[in-house]
Amino acid sequence: MAEPSSNPLRQPLPDGVVPESAVARTEKRWVITMVTMLAIMMLVIVATGLADALHPASNVEVVDPRTLHLAGEFVESNLGTAIEPDGSATVRLVAVQYDFVPNCVQVPVNTPVKFRLTSADVVHGFLLPDTNVNTMVVPGFVAEVRTRFAQTGEYEMPCHEFCGLGHHAMWTRVRVVPVAQFPTEAPQQRTSCAEQ
């Protein structure tokens, strides 16, 4: 700032130090390069979106959060894991401050699993680390996500959206068990590993 202006480096460069045509040429090349880059990336996104089992909950099903406990799909007796006639599993969960109901879920390994979740109060989140299961749980809507567990074991499951001052305590479990160990009750039966 205080340098003397006799310093040649401080002398302003003349106009047109790079000819206009050269600027235009290089910019054109760069535009082609970046459009190609983005087109390739977009293609990857579309391909992975269509081909891989990475489908966010986009089902747009409404449910009245005030009457969940009274009637319909999310009454307490219908929560937990249900085995469908085709052998797949459907897990229904209700998120509340600060727990999932039921707070431990049991599913068979190597079986298509469909999670259906909703909230009885505020916004929650549902994340199974190391799987493709990751969704918001918004009151008034049913979030449906599908997965398939390749290995048995226990997954810790945090609520991943701030839901109030006890948010950090909202951890539950998904237990993946061998198909043979999975209780084969009547279709009406709902199972979980929650402690009563």
Binding site: A2, D15, V23, V44, N59, R66, V123, G140, E161, H167
Partner: protein, 547 residues
């Protein structure tokens, strides 16, 4: 800097004055969620702190900084006094009152809803009112930027609007569009419920309205940094701007492309179908264009400077750049962080891949790199450039300023690289206390500890920033050079009307917003009953969750 000196100085001091405590809160939060012992070990305080950290960083600092910088740019780039200085001061006071109101409510523990609000959680009405005043007050600035640009155009019909002024007006218009989402959410949903005039809260609608703001606001934060890239960096390096036209196109693209894309924050939400999510995912990719264009133009501008200074060969010009200038050092560090952060952003904006990292620490790492890193480091550099011009006193000292920039850079990398990894391992965001005895959490412990070190380096850097700025106030008055903007290599003599104004682009934004958001917002008025009762965040005790 004519009548804008004091305006710029006051706005920037509010911004940086709020910055230091907000960084301190951030450092404490990192300690809280780590396995290390933390003072004041209380989850309730943690969520209040996250709310304050987010509110101050996202709304207060950015808004005040953009306003102060805008007033300085308007006066210096147009070379005449700012029109409407009295209104500007009124806006400043409204914003300040709003800030104080919101901050006091959070500190009192009555608004721990985070800066993203998360309805149907409900905070004290004073928090929402404070946030609303802050945003509404900044609209005075938006109007003044437009008034000053239009007034200058009328008086100078033959000349193109200087790039810096064109760009800051684009920033103001973008903010007006972006803020509409949060303002409608506040006025239409949160304030009526908080004051007890309404009953239920439509969480889906609230989230969707906020998403209108949530992405474009990032570009509102970013654009002052880009204005520095285009108009201050080439000047500080002793070169010329490679292309004025590309600068104009960049800011127009930011205005147009950063708005109809907010739904990529809602990919994992069940209240929207895959069609609009995919559409907005696609549109989000387009905002990579102005950034890629900028990286090219700025690198080319720096190359011109480096070669002028005697640099030879393919890369020899890099070494000859004046690295002792904080502005030149900052742009390099900023672009590196932008590169890392941008890579993460490409994952976030991908409809499918986002599922792997949604709401994990990966996302926290991403926006800290982009905003806390690439953008904020340019705010520092702009302050170092502006301070001497405003106060007439030289920076004390450039060496200390360089230390501050380097520490911020390393602090940010050490903080965010472990966060990226922990996020991939499934570490959720916004959690006050982790149980490190859980197997899933235990394997993240060392990563979390490393990031805490980064957090404290950032704190040291923030203290240095304030030290440099305060010390500079106590120097000898010896600088008389005004703020100068880089000239283009081929200065534009005349530019088409579309590159010299925003009427056309505002119309395009309107059409795009109707296409991208018309149905996603409109659907809530036709869906069957899905609203939920509000849940007051103040009425629950923290202990209730820890059974």
């Amino acid at each position: 800097m004519l009548n804008s000196r004091r305006l710029a100085l006051f706005h920037c001091w509010v911004a940086f004055g709020a910055f230091l405590p907000a960084v301190l809160l951030g450092a404490w939060q990192m300690l809280m969620r780590s396995p290390l012992p933390a003072p004041l070990d209380d989850p309730g305080a943690y969520y209040a702190s996250v709310t304050l950290h987010g509110t101050v960083m996202a709304y207060v600092i950015t808004t005040f900084f953009a306003m102060g910088f805008g007033y300085a740019v308007a006066a210096t780039s147009l070379g005449r006094p700012l029109r409407g200085a009295a209104a500007a001061w009124a806006g400043f006071v409204i914003c300040l009152v709003g800030t104080a109101m919101a901050a006091a409510t959070v500190v009192a523990g009555k608004a721990s809803v985070l800066y993203t609000f998360y309805p149907p959680l409900l905070a004290s009405p004073w928090y929402y009112l404070g946030a609303f005043l802050l945003v509404a007050g900044s609209m005075v600035w938006v109007v003044l930027m437009v008034v000053n640009m239009v007034g200058w155009k009328r008086d100078n019909p033959e000349r193109p609007v200087p790039l810096a002024m064109f760009a800051i007006t684009a920033t103001a218009l973008l903010w007006a569009w972006a803020a509409a989402g949060v303002e409608i959410e506040l006025v239409g949903i949160l304030l009526p419920r908080a004051f007890g005039w309404s009953d239920l809260i439509d969480a889906g609608l609230g989230r969707t309205l906020f998403s209108v703001t949530l992405h474009a606001i990032v570009y509102f934060w970013l654009m002052p940094a880009y204005i520095a890239f285009y108009t201050l960096v080439p000047q500080a390096a002793g070169g010329r701007l490679y292309s004025d036209t590309m600068g104009r196109l960049t800011f127009i693209m930011f205005l147009v492309f950063s708005l109809p894309v907010g739904m990529h924050h809602l990919f994992a939400d069940p209240e929207h179908g895959s069609g609009f999510k995919f559409l907005q995912s696609f549109l989000t990719f387009l905002i990579a264009l102005p950034t890629l264009l900028t990286v090219f133009s700025i690198t080319a501008s720096l190359e011109i400077a480096g070669r002028h200074r005697g640099g030879r060969g393919l890369l020899g010009w890099i070494a000859t750049l004046p690295w002792e200038e904080p502005m030149v050092l900052a742009v390099a560090l900023s672009l590196v962080m932008l590169g890392f952060g941008g890579f993460g952003g490409l994952i976030n904006m991908s409809y499918a891949m986002n599922m792997m990292i949604h709401n994990t620490s990966w996302v926290t790492a991403h926006f800290h790199l982009i905003f806390g890193g690439a953008v904020v480091i340019m705010y520092f550099a702009i302050a170092y450039e502006m301070w001497p011009r405003i106060t007439g006193k030289p920076l004390r000292s450039k060496a200390l300023a360089r230390w501050q920039l380097w520490l911020w850079f390393w602090g940010m990398l050490i903080t965010t690289i472990p966060w990226h990894i922990a996020g991939l391992m499934g570490q959720p965001r916004r959690i006050a206390i982790f149980d490190y005895s859980l197997p899933l959490v235990a394997r993240m412990a060392s990563l979390v500890n490393i990031s805490v070190i980064g957090g404290f380096i950032l704190l040291v850097s923030a203290i240095l920033l304030i030290t440099v700025l305060v010390r500079s106030h106590f120097g000898e008055r010896s600088v008389t050079e005004p703020l100068r903007y880089a000239l283009a290599v081929n200065p534009p003599r005349q530019v088409p009307a579309s590159l010299n104004g925003f009427a056309l682009w505002n119309a395009i934004v309107l059409v795009l917003m109707i296409v991208a958001y018309g149905y996603p917002i409109g659907q809530f008025f036709f869906l069957k009953s899905h609203s939920a009762p509000a849940v007051e965040v103040t009425s629950q005790s923290a202990a209730a969750g820890v059974q």
